[in-house]
Amino acid sequence: MLKVKQNLQSPFIPHWAIIRSITNLSEDNTLFELQIEDGDFSECKPGQFVQLWLPGVGESPISVCSAKVGETIELCIRRVGRVTNALFLLNEGERVGLRGPFGTGFPLEKYKGKNLCLIAGGLGIAPIRSLLQHVLLNREDYGKLILIYGLRHSAQLLFRHELKHVLRRRDIEVFISAEEIRGPDLPPMSMQLGRVTDMLSLAPVDESYEIAICGPPVMYKYVVQGLKAKGVKENSIWLSLERHMKCGMGKCGHCFVGGRFTCMQGPVFNLTELRFLPEAIECEGTESC
């Protein structure tokens, strides 16, 4: 008979958290600050994710959005699915559930002492923000720093006020672009017209840089091509993959990529590793990337 550990706890039980503040960032994106009532989330690292549970609705995997998680955790959430639509109906003071953190996160130790280029597309800024915060908090541990942030529409810019502060710093180069500058209002801040890849060609990225990328799946192929054209080595490129993580524990199968559980061995993967995983990103295994 199979032996089982004494007092084996169910890993499916969420911890409670209270919505402390709700900050609208753009039309469909909101920053939720959650006060953790029970459970310890202080081990959260940039690039990891938590499962946000709305009783009676379901769970949704959400990237950790701030470098430091203590009594509170920040989650930047787009209203796009069943759970997030229900979340946007809640008010401050209401209760949600949290499980996690899950996944590996960005390789902070490997990045140490290196030049760093962070590339975000759209909502990909959420995990990149936690990494950026971490690097800025420990600025002396890292070399040159570049942030590239691409949007489809200028109105989708997130973390405008924070980015204005970042733009004033001399120890980071920031490139922000939108494919479409939408009126009638002026863009929320100065940005260029173009794609992420256009910003990449402008940025002084070279083979000395370590790269962190998070964005929509379609972006990866072109960003990787652009990075390679600049001489960046494959093993310096780290990508955060989006999949539908449901259990977070390498069991339910929804987040399989090739042969890996995104929720356990990812969501951040090195490009050299992804090339061995069929269906990971569009350019996998092809000479074009």
Partner: protein
């Protein structure tokens, strides 16, 4: 080292009396002219000893098709634990034992799945030998002999059942009724050896298994997947019947007033269109071709990490239950190996196993 005993087949009634004392006994029961199912039984007369493959594999006892993980109300969460009474699972063939071993590997990996583990750890498993039909190909998958995961394994050696006891719990059962069991004598040991040699010669549905995982990996872009995918109905039949399909979905069932409810998990299938869909409706496996070859890769190559082994156990359930006839794993492997043209069809190499 295992312990070897035997008992007369005519005493099977007493054997069932014995295991019925442990707890509820599940065994294969005939549910229609041609189908069997693991169901609770109270005596040996209800058991279909001739059953080769049940509709669903025995994973259903440990990984329930639908189970409540916890209940909740406005203020609290109450974990729901599986029942703790001991049970006995009788009549598990080698392929299904191998399937349970795969499930054990997945669900005992950190963090352990408490629901699966609790159900699994309270169940005594008694295996039973079988002879293959034209759909069985466990020999090709290397799962044709019972290796682990059972407490007792019974081999039909004619007048007697030859009993292998692999665990203290299995031995305890034998010790509890020594008048029923006698240590296996030399003649019985010889008949046991002959049975397994004979059985290995009975397989007609087979392929050379050398390096199949590498071949399946290499043939990821083979046109065969397109041909099979175009015939796939995405019905998902192949996954519940598979002893090693362990994927699940987790859903909330809310009360009408929305103030309480339960969180359940249900079997899910990678063949269903929504399986790899993320919020915003982007689908990482939008077509049947994507989904079918993903399933085949899991079965014949396995996931590289953390487990790294093929998960097909050669039970033939998918082949039997696929309405499109595309889950002929042996036929697919032969084609990927370049040994058979597709025009020859799946049935071409399936001989009649009546001689066995």
């Amino acid at each position: 080292m295992q312990h070897y005993y035997s008992f007369e087949k005519s005493s099977i009634g007493r054997f069932f009396d014995l295991i019925n004392k442990i707890g509820r006994v599940w065994a294969p029961v005939r549910v229609s002219e041609a189908s069997f199912s693991f169901k609770p039984v109270s005596n040996h007369e209800q058991v279909a000893f001739e059953a080769l493959r049940t509709i669903l594999p025995p994973k259903k006892l440990f990984f329930s098709p639908e189970e409540t993980l916890f209940r909740f109300d406005e203020n609290s969460i109450h974990e729901v634990s599986p029942p703790s009474e001991r049970e006995v699972l009788f009549g598990v063939h080698p392929c299904d034992l191998a399937g349970l071993n795969v499930m054990d590997t997945i669900y005992s990996a950190h963090p352990q799945d408490s629901h699966y583990m609790k159900r699994r750890s309270k169940t005594l498993i008694i295996g039973l030998s079988c002879l293959p039909d034209k759909y069985c190909f466990c020999e090709s998958m290397g799962t044709d002999t019972p290796k682990k995961g059972y407490d007792l394994f019974l081999t039909d050696i004619g007048s007697h059942y030859f009993v292998q006891a692999q665990t203290p719990e299995g031995l305890e059962l034998i010790d509890s009724c020594r008048e029923l069991f006698s240590p296996a004598d030399e003649d019985q040991r010889n008949r046991f050896k002959q049975f397994w040699i004979y059985r290995s010669q009975c397989f007609t549905n087979k392929f050379e298994s050398d390096n199949v995982p590498a071949i399946v990996d290499m043939e990821w872009d083979n046109k065969l997947w397109d041909e099979l995918g175009q015939r796939c109905l995405s019905c998902g039949n192949c996954t519940p019947v598979c002893p090693t399909c362990y994927c699940f979905d987790i859903v909330d069932i809310s009360s009408l007033d929305g103030k309480s409810g339960e969180r359940k998990r249900e079997w899910d299938s990678c063949q269903i269109v929504s399986f790899a869909k993320v919020a915003g409706d982007f689908n990482f496996r939008p077509g049947p071709v994507d989904r079918l070859k993903f399933w085949y890769r899991h079965k014949l190559h396995g996931f590289d990490d953390p487990y790294g082994f093929p998960t097909c156990v050669g039970c033939g359930r998918c082949t039997v239950s696929c309405p499109s006839g595309i889950d002929d794993i042996v036929g697919v492997v032969l084609q990927l190996q370049g040994k058979r043209m597709k025009e020859q069809g799946a049935e071409a190499t399936k001989g009649d196993s009546s001689s066995c």
